[in-house]
């Protein structure tokens, strides 16, 4: 409707295709790391060096060479085919290999190193499980507490509510930068070092301020009559939260939950100083550990990265609308 209107009012001169061109070019570069991760994850180092840019064609080449010592059987060597070999057939090399007897191209799905993925699951799987546990529990508890807290501030102007609100908002201004050193010793004194609970608890504390801030504004904007009607019916505050706040605030709670989950998923500074045992590693520490330890088998590493992204891909698929709209709407609200 509006597009048609716009077209009739003189923007005929301005075509959209140059914009599309620029946008697509930028997006291609933006998506390039993702593409590299996916295509390298199916390769081994040899085929990655041979063909770093494009996905592997599903062909293998079997080369038969005469043995270096006479009288021994021929050496059979399997390698992945390059794209030129797939498209134009196998051409003799510029410097002919005198030992080469035959080279044959054949269709072979075995060039895709599914083993990389299996290996990736083996390496990163436990880390992913730990992270899912920490992020889900943390997000759930953090938001539950925040809903109660926001309800307290939004429902009535209770005595001392102003002071308490100030205590929360002050933290919004104070950067948490100096905290990490004393936080470490605090967790040590509480005996929480090297536990996943430490991450959950600190995550809950960190999420309170922002979530309460957003939720308070939202709950205050809900029609007061709803609460009063519920109260008439004899609903307690808990029931009011259940019947009024939760259904009406579901979209904003969803958006906050996704943001909280993403934040916890990406956190690695706290886990890095809290966790010691390999069994407890979350994704962040695990990946840093992996980066330091492994002889670089890029295929395996990239497939580990891919496995690390799968939970977010699942969330993305289910909540994309919530995500895109939520971010935009949240931005308008401030």
């Amino acid at each position: 409707m509006s597009a048609a209107l716009n077209d009739s009012v003189g923007s005929r001169r301005h075509r959209d295709w140059p914009k599309h061109l620029v946008l697509i070019a930028i997006l291609c570069i933006e998506l390039f790391p993702l593409y590299m991760m996916l295509q390298v994850s199916m390769k081994d180092n040899a085929s990655f060096i041979q063909n770093p840019w494009l996905p592997q064609p599903p062909y293998a080449v079997t080369e038969v060479r005469s043995a270096p010592v006479a009288g021994q059987p021929d050496v059979v060597h399997n390698r992945t085919a390059t794209w030129t070999e797939v498209l134009h057939g196998i051409t003799p090399a510029l410097v002919p290999d005198p030992a080469l007897i035959s080279a044959e191209k054949h269709f072979d799905l075995g060039v895709y190193r599914v083993g990389n993925l299996v290996n990736g699951v083996k390496i990163v799987g436990p880390y992913v499980a730990n992270t899912v546990f920490v992020a889900l529990t943390g997000t759930f508890l953090s938001l539950s507490l925040a809903i109660f807290g926001a309800y307290f501030f939004a429902r009535y102007r209770m005595p001392f509510a102003g002071v308490l609100w100030g205590a929360f908002m002050l933290l919004m201004l104070l950067p948490g930068v100096a905290n990490i050193v004393p936080l470490f010793t605090l967790l040590k004194d509480l005996g929480l070092l090297n536990t996943l609970s430490a991450l959950i608890i600190v995550g809950i504390a960190g999420g309170q301020v922002f979530n309460i801030f957003v939720l308070r504004n939202f709950i205050e904007d809900l029609p007061k009559d709803l609460f009063e009607a519920a109260e008439m019916d004899g609903a307690s505050h808990l029931q009011q939260i259940k019947t009024v706040v939760l259904p009406l605030a579901a979209p904003i709670i969803g958006t906050l939950a996704i943001l909280a989950f993403l934040g916890k998923w990406n956190d690695f500074l706290l886990p890095l100083i809290v966790l010691r045992d390999k069994e407890l590693f979350t994704l962040g520490v695990g990946l840093i550990y992996l980066d330091g330890e492994y002889v670089k088998q890029w295929g395996q590493i990239m497939s580990a990265y891919f496995i690390a992204s799968i939970p977010l891909i699942i969330i993305f698929l289910f909540c994309m609308r919530l995500f895109v709209r939520g971010l935009s709407a949240g931005a308008v609200k401030g």
């Binding site: 509006s2 597009a3 209107l5 716009n6 077209d7 009012v9 003189g10 959209d16 946008l23 930028i26 997006l27 570069i29 933006e30 998506l31 790391p33 993702l34 590299m36 770093p52 840019w53 807290g149 307290f152 501030f153 939004a154 429902r155 009535y156 209770m158 308490l164 933290l171 201004l173 950067p175 948490g176 930068v177 100096a178 990490i180 050193v181 004393p182 936080l183 010793t185 608890i201 809950i204 504390a205 309460i212 505050h237 990406n266 690695f268 962040g284 890029w298 990239m302 990265y305 690390a308 992204s309 977010l312 891909i313 993305f316 895109v324 935009s328 709407a329 931005a331 308008v332 401030g334």
Partner: protein
């Protein structure tokens, strides 16, 4: 606004305080207590254990003469400038998407923008670390492939940088002089999905009739940006500017992952946060680390104050 409540009714509703109690407890123990503890311990010689010795302002006077700390503040200032430049593509991208006529296309681009977010931030960092790899890395391959490397080598010979050589791969993260350029290059083309979506939301409030009037007046695309679009997203731009500066000042995860806890070769990527981390968890000087944290904290607090005073964000 919350309803006012009579003292009498508030007394009857005393149970409501239990709603806020858990949150209060959590921020008290895990936000306020560590903050107070940091102030307290910045006056001590403290290894993180039970033994500590009051040394007054010694940690601070040491920090005052600490060359690493001061150069790290220099580095972080450069990084802030970099990050300000890196804000531009997101703004331009948002304007481009907004100017598309088809709503479907706009939504499609928004979704495509969010797609890279499925890769955890840390993984993106590691993929970039892989891009920077001198031998197999994508960046060097691209430079070789497009012939840009020869250009760089010629420029090097002309200006005498002494970092690019024709016969050696470029060591992006291993040559001190290339650390800062690498930290700039990182994340190209610097489109943060969240940023673009926020700007788009701001642009959405521009009515179609404003554009129509502008087109009737023969306003060019650049002027449209300057006089119609930029003023409307100025609030968002300022807000993300402030968040960006504060974020850059306190962040050190990027440097820790790309360069390690010493800030890379020559310590060229050392930032104050990383130095604090290094002193606490590598050297075990917890008291000194607290003092560094306090100094950084004062800087950020000052910026927050300036921001609240001069950069009004209208809600």
């Amino acid at each position: 606004m919350a309803l006012p409540i009579s003292r009498h009714k508030a007394l009857r509703e005393w149970k409501l305080y239990f709603f806020i109690l858990p949150s209060l407890l959590f921020i008290g123990v895990f936000s306020y207590f560590p903050a107070g503890s940091a102030i307290y311990h910045s006056f001590f010689d403290w290894q993180g254990g039970d033994n500590k010795q009051l040394i007054g302002f010694e940690n601070f006077s040491r920090a005052l003469h600490d060359p690493v700390l001061w150069s790290s503040f220099g580095t972080v200032s450069v990084l802030i400038v970099f990050n300000l430049i890196k804000m531009i593509p997101a703004i331009l991208m948002a304007v481009l998407i907004h100017r598309l006529k088809s709503d479907r296309a706009q939504y499609g681009y928004r979704v495509l923008l969010v797609v890279p977010m499925i890769v955890p931030g840390l993984v993106t960092l590691f993929i970039w670390k892989f891009f920077f790899d001198p031998n197999l890395g994508v960046l060097n391959n691209v430079l070789d492939f497009t012939g840009l490397k020869t250009v760089l080598v010629h420029l090097d010979q002309f200006f005498g940088w002494d970092v690019f050589f024709a016969n050696a791969p470029i060591g992006w993260l291993s040559q001190p002089a290339l650390i800062l350029p690498s930290l700039f290059l990182w994340g190209f083309p610097w489109i943060g999905a969240v940023g673009v979506l926020i700007y788009l939301a701001g642009l959405q409030s521009i009515g179609q009739e404003v554009y129509e009037a502008a087109e009737l007046d023969g306003v060019g695309p650049f002027q449209k940006f300057l006089y119609i679009e930029l003023p409307l997203i100025l609030t968002q731009v300022r807000l993300s500017l402030v968040l960006l500066i504060i974020g850059t000042l306190k962040d050190y995860g990027l440097q820790l992952v790309l360069l390690g806890d010493t800030g890379g070769p020559g310590g060229r990527g050392m930032v104050p946060g990383l130095w604090m981390y290094n002193r606490a968890f590598i050297a075990g000087e917890f008291g000194y680390a607290c003092a560094i944290g306090m100094i950084l904290f004062v800087f950020i607090l000052g910026l927050t104050y300036l921001n609240n005073k001069y950069v009004r964000v209208d809600k």
